[in-house]
């Protein structure tokens, strides 16, 4: 007992605080679940194979990670607010842990899964499908993501966080320079989460290829679906490169290979592998957002998307070029000039399809009747922000100038303009847009506007000054800077902006709370001024578990709008009512996630018994799954009919 007490008093104050708040939150959640007897309800969600529920859990969990990494961002900004500052414990190594996990969590556990979650809900609805192609694998993807996420997130209270940056460059990330379990969390946690993401990607590809409603040709698919299709292809090929990179790092740290060491090996191999994954990853988290914006801008301008074929073409081209630009992260490494030049050229070329998209969005608004609801505000904020991020991107491709920008705050500014500007704005836009579809209620518009303006203005105050800091010679990932270089003022503004962004996120949380508590119900099928365009607005909000009582017949690119134009209330559904076959709910993915979690802890702490036990659980469950009869459940025709009639009234 005394030993335990001694251990706790020896902990740094921030970890102690985190431990205590972990315990308090856990107790409160257990209490609330018991009090309202909601355990069974929770289990229902955990074992669900319904793509909508899985998508919502994705959104919820990655939002929690967003809060965590956001708090880290605030701590980073607190430490950097003044020159020679000593804020709390966050100097030196602790600061490096903050930046490393902030980046890792935001990229892998926030940006990627937020979009995957949203698309999980939306894509099957947009293509007129009753579920994804592999509901079981969908659930497994979710639980692998959560397992990996938990690993990265608990690292700082269990052995130390990764502290070699989110890019985890060797040799710094090797045992010689960062011993201990901290940096083991990085390759192992991401490996588990990445495996889930690859499965998710394959799932989306097959869903979109094979499960489209009758008449939904490729060139009739909504842009969100198109974007997710190309993104999924990128996921499958980019994340497998990441898997090898992480495997290599695991071998280096756990099994003693010397491939990445400075003496016997070549540390640049890591950089190549990482960025072969890393640059497509930028498009993995940008393309779905582009898709969302295309749908949102078209809807809220009441105009057909301008130049649909060139929009599709641009997405494909961006996806293709995305695999050929990775070296632009490595211009200063000293590779041969010809290689550098080639990659500078491909990088510049990406500006062309991106430009096509920007102008097509602008000209979609032209001649429309633009409404300024929150989803549209975020879309407009995106155009403004992303164009700035885009032009700094072109500036970065100018190799000699990049020698100056590289690894300075200029790059920090650029990457946040692109990633927050596209992904986070995109997710906010999409969440406001589809919330009524997912939950049958509007998010509060007034709070939505507060949310947008505080977050957006805060964003520019945080990150615009960083361009200038970069030009003043401030390298990234420094935990302090000297007085007298004129950096103090800009950094202070940036810190203030970060808190304004934090306020924006608070408004969003309040909004969700108020909306969820309110009893106002919106049973509208097509809630946004009854002028939806795509299939998700032809079915009730929230949709029944089987989405479509009868399959829709798609005759054009915007079937619902077309139906309205021709004076109909909804599109044509074909065929008779029939018994609908739906997959069983299953607890196996959840337990497989737990198996991976156990195994991962074994690997991280190099306790092989635990690792083997965990993997045994995983393989045992896979075996069980293989033997199961996949009978599923049947929803009788009468029930479907009754529900469908009820929804019409």
């Amino acid at each position: 007992m005394k030993a335990l007490l001694d251990y706790f008093t020896s902990l740094p104050s921030d970890i102690l605080l985190a431990d205590v708040s972990f315990i308090i939150i856990a107790v409160i959640i257990c209490y609330l679940l018991t009090k309202h007897s909601k355990w069974e309800w929770l289990w229902g969600w955990i074992t669900s194979t319904d793509h909508k529920k899985i998508g919502i859990i994705y959104l919820l969990v990655s939002f929690l990670f967003f809060i965590r990494a956001g708090i880290e961002a605030l701590l980073i900004r607190m430490q950097l607010a003044f020159p020679n500052n000593d804020f709390w414990v966050f100097q030196g190594d602790r600061f490096n842990q903050l930046t490393s996990t902030h980046g890792t969590v935001m990229i892998f556990l926030v940006a990627t899964p937020l979009l995957i979650g949203l698309m999980n809900v939306i894509v099957p609805l947009q293509i007129g499908a009753r579920d994804v192609a592999f509901p079981f694998m969908n659930s497994l993807s979710l639980w692998l993501f959560i397992s990996g996420g938990i690993l990265i997130n608990v690292s700082f209270v269990a052995g130390g966080s990764p502290n070699a940056g989110w890019t985890s460059y060797a040799p710094l990330a090797l045992n010689d320079y960062t011993p201990g379990p901290g940096n083991n969390y990085y390759p192992i946690g991401l490996q588990v989460a990445g495996l889930g993401t690859i499965m998710g990607g394959i799932n989306f590809i097959v869903t979109i290829l094979k499960m489209r409603a009758p008449g939904m040709r490729f060139m009739r698919m909504p842009l969100s679906t198109w974007a997710m299709f190309i993104t999924s292809i990128l996921i499958v090929y980019a994340f497998s490169a990441l898997a090898v990179a992480l495997l290599l790092l695991t071998f280096e740290r756990l099994f003693g290979t010397v491939i990445l060491t400075g003496g016997e090996g070549n540390p640049i191999i890591w950089q190549h592998l990482f960025w072969i994954f890393g640059h497509p990853e930028v498009y993995i988290i940008a393309l779905p957002a582009f898709g969302i914006f295309s749908d949102v801008i078209s809807t809220f301008s009441k105009r057909k998307l301008f130049g649909y074929p060139s929009m599709v073409f641009a997405i494909i081209l961006i996806g293709f070029l995305g695999f050929m630009v990775w070296v632009h992260h490595m211009f200063t490494v000293g590779l041969s000039t010809n290689i550098t030049i080639f990659f500078a050229l491909t990088t510049m070329l990406i500006a062309v399809p991106t430009g096509i998209k920007i102008f097509n969005w602008l000209f979609t608004m032209r001649g429309g009747r633009i409404r300024f609801d929150t989803p549209m505000l975020y879309a407009l904020g995106f155009i403004f922000t992303f164009v700035i991020g885009g032009v700094t991107g072109v500036m970065l491709s100018v190799v000699p100038a990049d020698y100056q920008y590289h690894d300075s705050y200029f790059v920090v500014a650029h990457l946040h303009y692109v990633i927050i500007g596209a992904t986070i704005f995109g997710v906010f836009s999409g969440v406001y847009y589809w919330w009524p579809k997912m939950f049958g209620k509007f998010l509060n518009e007034k709070l939505g506007k507060w949310n947008f303006w505080t977050f957006g203005i805060g964003f520019h105050f945080t990150f615009f000054p960083m361009h200038i800091m970069g030009l003043m010679g401030m390298p990234r990932r420094v935990f302090t800077y000297p007085e007298g270089e004129g950096l103090g003022f800009l950094n202070f503004i940036s810190t203030c902006g970060a808190f304004l962004m934090g306020a924006g996120v608070l408004f969003f949380m309040i909004n969700i709370y108020i909306t969820t508590r309110s009893t106002q119900k919106n049973t509208l099928r097509d809630p946004w001024f009854s002028r939806g365009r795509t299939l998700e607005w032809t079915i009730p909000s929230p949709p029944p578990p089987y989405n479509f009582a009868r399959l829709p017949l798609v005759k054009s690119r915007e079937p619902l709008w077309e139906a309205y134009e021709n004076g109909y209330k909804n599109i044509d559904f074909i065929g008779e009512y029939e018994d609908i076959h739906m997959p069983n709910s299953t607890s196996l993915p959840f337990f497989m996630g737990i198996g991976f979690l156990i195994a991962s802890f074994g690997f991280v702490f190099e306790i092989w018994v635990i690792a083997i036990m965990g993997m045994a659980v995983v393989f045992l469950l896979m075996g069980i799954r293989s033997f199961q009869h996949k009978s599923g459940i049947h929803i009788p025709k009468e029930v479907v009919m009754a529900e469908d009639k009820g929804a019409e009234d």
């Binding site: 090996g265 057909k304 050229l345 420094v478």
Partner: protein, 235 residues
């Protein structure tokens, strides 16, 4: 909010020439040619920004939904071949203007060492968390500071003892990574005397922020005297 903000953006860019922005205040050949491209790219990109933002603002004002138009639905169009071709072709033109000098300068910067006249060679060793400068010509070693003669070409041979670092003197030249398994070269000619900050620009561990050095550029005469004195002290 949007309109004043875009002015603010341009304002900052215009203003930036006159504060202590070390990258824009170049005192060396390499930094000079990098700066020229930096200005060229900013100029081209400001044109892009102006075009996009003026269209953006114009469309937002002109086509906003006015009260009473809630149930007003405009005619729908598919696209416009001419317009779409325009914004496919124009970026190519801009990129071409940018790409040609980019490629030329890159080759020039990367292949400078061969064409140099009587360069001063300095072997730089980076290690957690300090810099060691060794002048083979004079057998002098300095730590965390480096002295250069003005107007004489310098070759830095960069090598790391441990992790990857990056060698950066913003006012004299852009970065070059300092690798543990391979030697990199950075060449430049300082054009003005003075003291310039140097830093490590590749994240290298706990005290990465403190891995800085001071670069002093002095008159050639002063440099010669200094090497003589330093030589004697070594003996």
């Amino acid at each position: 909010m949007r309109v004043p903000f875009s002015f603010y953006v341009i304002g900052i860019i215009l203003m930036s020439g006159c504060s202590n922005l070390s990258v824009l205040d170049s005192k060396g050949t390499a930094a000079d040619s990098e700066l020229k491209l930096l200005y060229l790219s900013i100029a081209l990109m400001v044109i892009v920004l102006l075009v996009v933002f003026s269209l953006f603002i114009r469309f937002l004002i002109k086509y906003r939904e006015r009260p009473g138009q809630e149930n007003d639905f405009p005619t729908q169009i598919e696209g416009n071949k001419k317009l779409e071709t325009t914004w496919i072709v124009l970026p190519f033109v801009i990129l071409f203007i940018l790409a040609v000098p980019t490629f030329a300068t890159t080759y020039q910067l990367d292949n400078k060492a061969e064409s140099m006249d009587e360069p001063l060679v300095i072997n730089v060793t980076g290690k957690q968390f300090s810099w060691v400068f060794y002048y083979p010509e004079f057998e002098i070693t300095l730590e965390n500071e480096v002295k250069l003669p003005v107007d004489r070409p310098v070759i830095f041979n960069l090598h790391s003892e441990d992790v990857i670092h990056s060698f950066w003197i913003p006012q004299l030249a852009g970065k070059k990574d300092v690798l543990p398994h391979k030697e990199n070269q950075l060449t430049l000619t300082p054009l003005e005397t003075g003291t310039y900050d140097g830093k490590c620009a590749e994240f290298c561990g706990a005290s990465h922020a403190f891995m800085t050095f001071e670069t002093t550029v002095v008159e050639q005469e002063t440099f010669k005297q200094w090497t003589n004195v330093a030589d004697k002290q070594e003996d």
